[in-house]
Amino acid sequence: MSNIKLIAVHFIKTVWKGKVIVPIYLVWLALVLYAVFTGYATYTRQNEIRKEYQARARQSWEANPDKHPHRMAHFGSFAFRVKHPLSMFDNGMESYTGNAVYLEAHKQNTANYSEASFSTGLLRFGELSLAMLLQTLLPLILFFLGFNAVAQQRENATLKILVSQGATFKQIIWGNSIGLFAVAVAFLLPVLLSTLTGIALQSTTTADAGLFIRCAVIGAGAIIFLWVVSVLAIVISAVSSTGRSALLSLLGMWLMMAIVLPKTLQAIGSYVYPAPGKIQFQAAVEADILQQGDSHNPDDVHFKKLKDSVLRANKVDSIQQLPFNYSGYIMQEGERMSAQVYNRHLQQLHTIYDRQNRVSYNAAFIDPFIGFKNITMAFSGTGFSAFLSFQQQAEKYRYDLAQTMNVLQMKYISNKKLSSTDKPYSIDKSHWTSFPDFRHRYQSVNEIIQQQWVALVALAAWLLLSVILIHFTAAKATVI
């Protein structure tokens, strides 16, 4: 046991005495500061803007005078996506998802104005977030600091001396791994500290943000990930005959795991499970809606049948005698049917996306970098499911708005046709204020865990594997 401690301390001392650690750490601090400052500025400014415009949109909604409720259904509303405080830590895929969506009757609009649509190709190199520094840069630094640990001792034959003095390979690998991991924690600390400071500076974090548990999961994930990376570095160093070959293997591994695999796996996913574009999607929705019945078509069978059954059920023989507004009823029915069709198609589309993403999710078992990234994104509220959740909330609000206006029309608007000289039907404007504004809610942590259990299990598997790897390598390693 004391051997492990000795070796770990020796590793840390060697790193500390080396010429590179101080400049690397200073650059690291500068990058962390830059990432947290820009992340904080973007987060606060964006949420400020979005909340302001959500309020402005609401103001003009409430400023509407008395009018026909269907005009209000067309007036519509907006949903602005509120950023989660942890997006300061990890932008995830947020830059690629729309931030605002116009909500109106009869029509599901896309969420537009993503950061990416406002950006040049530089965005595609990847953003500089705290999470990116942890996921991509820190492993590279650790590989640099660790590649020589055992290999150099083998090269200059001190390994022989060490083993002959009673140290076992198990102890050597454990000791160096712990030493490298301790260095990794020194790099992790400023990241965690600045994230927590950024969050603490927020005066307006909401209760549903689940900050404590999200931070805990990300922190634990980071610790496991860095441990796995440290072990990989030392194990490769232990099996390489020279420091140079250890460095090359580690760099190759980094390039594969951090850069090439994430890109290619996602490309494979989208190639194997092709998703329709908007035009094909809309054509399919339109075709299905037409098959179900078209409320615009006066000869449509579905709506003719509907009319007959409504008249029969109310024991009347003309629309004028109905106790509610018939065209409001028809629109309610039309909205229900078209939303149903649309949502079914959207569900299918999301299933395809999910299959595409599964390739990456499952790859967490061969590439811990991907798994860790999926965890930080999901728990920072910037992952795929966070966006789906926003879309669903927006669609639900849209549907409720349209149907509330239809119900108001059924209740308060007469069936009698007006002549061109009559004042058009209208209802009191107090109805507008009584319909609540849209409010974006964050996902619950339970939901996220359900969606990202693969990544969590994969990371746990890597932790287990790291221990197995140490023992396996120790058994096979030789002094020369």
Binding site: T38, T42, G92, Y102, A116, G121, L137, F281, T421
Partner: protein, 448 residues
């Protein structure tokens, strides 16, 4: 002697493994680009087909109300990617390049995005421009990092110095051999790309190739500069890789974070709200004021009847247009902000070879942000033409049957393609020469 050194280099097994790997990566990237192009092509064909069906179906149902028909009809305006877009997908996967527009308010339509999986966008495209800007430097580093240090660490350097009159010539010779090999790889990938994707050999393709070669040369210059610092093999590796991390990973992120934090685009949201309010509030306002404002811009429609029945399509489309008119100022401010973002990124990118190359590849392939802004701007003209064509028919309530509907096929946007050679070439050339010159000076001072 040169020939011998050349054969010596390419006889190495690891060199061949590296070349095969990079060739494979290049081929995969070309195929991914081709796939992208095919998908775009399929979407364009599908919209061309569905536009006819869509018009036909609506014309069948709405036979006698031109204004109502035009509420629904959509007309496609397409920004068709050039074949070379396969080599630099740029922002083309983010920005929708097919707009299906009605004659109603434009501002509510033209920012509509396509449907896509954000995870795909986030991981980015493995296209040839990515392979060249991000991966090729690694190959160059792997070839060069121990060119000098190996001789010194192997103890052969004094021998070289004794036998060769100019040690500098010796290093340059070695570098040039490697440069020929990397250039041959690049050239073969470009030729294959041309054949597989079917890219015409024109100014754009030439510009792409020149940027790629210059970029490769810049990385050789960087290698040369760091090699002649006479550090050990592992320090060389560390330095070169740090240069790669800095230029290909950190600098783009630094610039991008700055632009994102500094230039928020609230104008986008104000455009959105303004256009909604601009149109919808007109329902509650005096018809006359709306129409006078409309006639002010379009006096030619003054003679159509608009004040007879309570609902009239001239009034309706005037209201729609006023939504655009009132949002115009915000929309313009938004575009200005976006241009500003694009300019700042491009200017900052000038100073760093990887960012400059990446932005230029996208510019050449017409898949960058400036080109998308051009396309967005031109939707205004497309929409205007569409409205001016249909307005008289709507306002005069023409017979639906009298229109020759088959002529309304999708319209294509044509970007003005002019390669700005000086802006393209100069930054890379300049960086390359400065780095190389610095290397020569350093070596002359300390040829150890």
């Amino acid at each position: 002697m040169y020939k011998l050194a050349f054969y010596n280099f390419i006889r190495s097994r690891s060199v061949w493994i590296a070349l095969v790997l990079f060739f494979a990566a290049g081929m995969v990237s070309i195929l991914i680009g081709r796939q992208f192009l095919l998908k775009q092509e399929a979407a364009i064909q599908s919209v061309t087909r569905s536009q006819q069906e869509h018009i036909g179906r609506n014309v069948k149902y709405i036979k006698n109300e031109f204004g109502l028909l035009m509420y629904y009809l959509k007309f496609a305006y397409i920004n068709k990617p050039a074949p070379i877009a396969a080599l630099a997908i740029g922002q083309q996967d983010v920005n929708s390049n097919i707009q299906a527009l009605t004659v109603r308010g434009l501002e509510a339509q033209r920012y509509d995005t396509d449907l896509y999986n954000p995870y795909n966008l986030m991981t980015g495209n493995f296209d040839l421009s990515f392979v060249i800007t991000c991966l090729f430097p690694l190959l160059i580093i792997a070839f060069n990092f121990n060119v000098l240090s190996r001789e010194k660490e192997g103890g052969t350097w004094p021998l070289v110095k004794m036998q060769s009159l100019q040690p500098m010539k010796f290093i340059l010779q070695k570098l040039s051999i490697r440069c020929i090999v990397v250039s041959a790889l690049l050239l073969s990938l470009l030729i294959l790309a041309k054949l597989i994707v079917g890219i015409p050999v024109n100014a754009a393709f030439g510009a792409y190739a020149i940027v790629a070669f210059l970029y490769v040369l810049v990385w050789f210059a960087i290698s040369f500069l760091l090699i002649v610092l006479h550090k050990s093999t592992s320090v060389n590796a560390l330095l070169l890789l740090s240069a790669w991390v800095l230029l290909c990973l950190l600098v783009p992120g630094l610039i991008n974070n700055y632009v994102t934090a500094r230039y928020a685009v609230p104008e986008a949201y104000s455009t959105l709200i303004k256009q909604r309010d601009g149109y919808h509030t007109k329902w509650d306002k005096d018809k006359d004021s709306t129409l006078q404002a409309f006639f002010h811009e379009y006096p030619e429609y003054r003679n159509y009847v608009w004040n007879k029945p309570s609902f009239n399509y001239l009034w309706f489309y005037a209201m729609q247009h006023m939504g655009d008119a009132e949002a115009r100022e915000h929309s313009r401010a938004m575009h200005q902000q976006l241009r500003q973002r694009s300019r700042v990124s491009a200017t900052a990118g000038l100073f760093f070879p990887a960012t400059h190359a990446q932005l230029q590849f996208a510019n050449i392939a017409q898949t960058g942000m400036p080109q998308h802004l051009q396309y967005l701007d031109s939707t205004v003209h497309f929409h205007e033409r569409l409205r001016r064509y249909f307005y008289p028919k709507i306002f005069g309530d023409s017979a639906v049957d009298s229109e020759h509907w088959a002529q309304h096929v999708p319209v294509y946007f044509h970007a003005a393609c002019n390669v700005q050679w000086i802006q393209l070439v100069l930054p890379l050339l300049f960086t390359g020469i400065v780095l190389f010159g610095a290397g020569v000076v350093l070596f002359k001072r300390n040829p150890a």
